[in-house]
Amino acid sequence: MDAINWHSCFFLLFAAIACGFAVAVVVVGDIVRMACCLVVSLAAVAGLFFLAEAEFLGAAQLMVYVGGTMVLLIFGVMLTARGPFVSMKTGGGQWVLAIVIGVALFAVLLQAATSTSAWNGPKANDQAAVPAANNSPLPQAGEGPGVRAVEGDSQDAAGQLGLGLLGVREDRLRRQDKPVLLGGMSGYLLVFEIISVHLVVVLVGAAYLARARRRGRNPESRSPLPDPRSPKPESP
């Protein structure tokens, strides 16, 4: 019984949690419990990111998704709760239809995922033990001829991502021999700018959409209670 592959064990653990709670989100009726199951599922996905050597991304997922978006949803649930957290039931027919479509879609995806051999991952025999947690040694400085696999230094993913955002595609720099193409290695600077402007517009729009309804225009917006004993003479 050769050595346990820790990487796979943790993968199975996080995958089980992610899928289990994703199914729980679908099954559970009460909206708040649904939100909690979703939170755990997203946290498990963040774990999967850590396992796939995307450390910075895992932390980003934890912070933005689980910390931000889910709190937003929980606030939404609390603000729109009507009475004792009513849970709306859907008819049986819709469930059956949805599940049939779901299973069909899943079968297609499963077939696609497992059929291509290239994706079946490194075989145990033709490769040294998968680096579970240790950081691979620093890339040798020597310039290999032509394209060769760069061992992404997971230790420095955040640095690479940051540089990528600023336009320097560091991981591609060393592998491109022809200087003329070096110019083409532009990173994501333009995309980064567009998205930041887009975010500002979106959030201002969201704030405007949910603005106060109290004043004027909306007829049925309730103004604060008429003061029964207000000193104004005209009150009966």
Binding site: R211, A212, R213, L225, D227
Partner: protein, 401 residues
């Protein structure tokens, strides 16, 4: 006028949530006893406040029709249990007014000393509970440490620590033990720095000012309309204190004493008091001024006590003895209001010739002081409600009687 102002600056509310009816009390820690306040809130903003009282009603006035005037004294202690001496004094003065008697100079000076000592104790409790309601626990501990010393002094005189039954109609049961005045002066001397500490801790504290300045503003006309009295009235800029402007029987007690009524008339306090200046945000009549008026009254009371001790020891007369247990009351009625720490306490006695009064009516100062609460708390945040309540300094024993 107040309603419009409150309505216009109600916090612009983002999302229309359901209005919540929330019950604060009767066992709520910040309602000074058994007061139940029903809040109608829209999110954080309080749109309607309705206080419910009566949980501490013991029909004190009905019992008075069964007891003679001297036997009823312990009941007056239980009205405002934080200032029992002042309640006794009010009852005693009313009986003396009914009987048409006056007490000797020495007794008068002793009454001034003890009444002012109890005023300091009551104001200390008010300051401590105010700090507690705003969230800082330390002033509560400091004020109660000082109050313990005053209560020790009272224990030496009459044996009790909260409900004293000492100032009887006609005189006092027994004079203070020797050396009592020395200890009294020792307490006053060490009390000065404590006042400065309290000012540093609360009055000039930025967060305290932010929480109390311009909160629960009670304009003078509304204060008078609702019949508020005492520090609540004076903080709204009405210069009215029964010890100086009251009936002759009250003002005679303070003859020969030099002191000042504390009220921000025209936005300024009487003399250039040595304590922290009034912050710019504070509006006359807000919670901050109510707190500040009490703190300055404590200083005035200290002057009065010192003068009282000098006059008492200079006078070589005799302390009067109280009236007989079964003293006959003349046919007729007498009503007198005296300046208690929380406001004007009114006692009305209707005598029908026998020793037992035919009817007794008590006008409570806290009852009137709490009546503007719904007006003050309209459009205010939930966190301000206890702050305003604490600034009014009410005692439920007195309200429910």
């Amino acid at each position: 006028m107040q309603a419009e102002r409150a309505q216009s600056d109600t916090v612009e509310f983002d999302v229309r949530t359901d209005e919540m009816l929330i019950n604060m009390g009767p066992q709520h820690p910040s309602t000074h006893g058994v007061l139940r306040v029903v809040l109608r809130t829209d999110g954080e903003v309080v749109s309607e406040v309705t206080p419910h009282i009566g949980y501490l009603h013991r029909s004190a006035e009905k019992i008075a029709e069964k007891l003679t005037v001297r036997q009823y004294l312990p009941y007056t202690d239980r009205l405002d249990y934080l200032a029992a001496m002042n309640m006794n004094l009010g009852w005693a003065l009313t009986v003396e007014k009914l009987l048409g008697r006056r007490v000797s100079e020495k007794t008068r000076h002793l009454r001034v000393i003890i009444a002012e000592l109890n005023r300091i104790a009551s104001h200390l409790v008010a300051a401590g509970c105010f700090g507690l309601d705003l969230g800082s626990f330390t002033p509560f501990m400091w004020t109660f440490r000082e109050r313990e010393k005053i209560v020790d002094l009272f224990e030496e005189i009459c044996g009790a620590r909260l409900t004293y039954s000492y100032l009887l109609p006609g005189g006092v049961t027994a004079g203070p033990p020797d050396g009592w005045f020395g200890r009294c002066e020792a307490f006053l001397d060490q009390f000065d720095p404590v006042i400065d500490e309290l000012h540093a801790l609360l009055t000039s504290n930025a967060i305290f000012i932010k929480r109390t300045a311009d909160v629960g503003v009670l304009p003078p006309e509304m204060a008078i309309d609702y019949g508020c009295t005492g520090p609540v009235l004076r903080a709204s800029g009405v210069d009215w204190d029964l010890r100086r402007d009251g009936e002759p029987i009250c003002t005679e007690m303070y003859d020969g004493y030099t002191w000042q009524v504390i009220a921000p008339t025209g936005g300024r306090y009487p003399d250039d008091h040595p304590y922290p200046p009034v912050p710019p945000e504070a509006v006359v009549g807000d919670s901050w001024h109510r707190f500040f008026v009490r703190m300055l009254e404590v200083v005035q009371s200290m002057y009065l006590i010192r003068q009282g001790i000098e006059k008492y020891s200079a006078d070589d007369g005799e302390l009067d003895k109280p009236i007989k247990i079964k003293e006959k009351l003349p046919k007729g009625e007498a009503y007198l209001e005296t300046e208690a720490p929380k406001g004007q306490m009114g006692f009305m006695i209707v005598g029908d010739g026998s020793a037992v009064p035919w009817r007794v009516r008590i006008r409570s100062s806290s009852f009137c002081n709490i009546s503007p609460l719904p007006e003050l708390c309209r459009g205010v945040l939930i966190a301000d409600m206890p702050a305003i309540l604490a600034s009014l300094d009410i005692v439920l024993g007195e309200i429910d009687r």
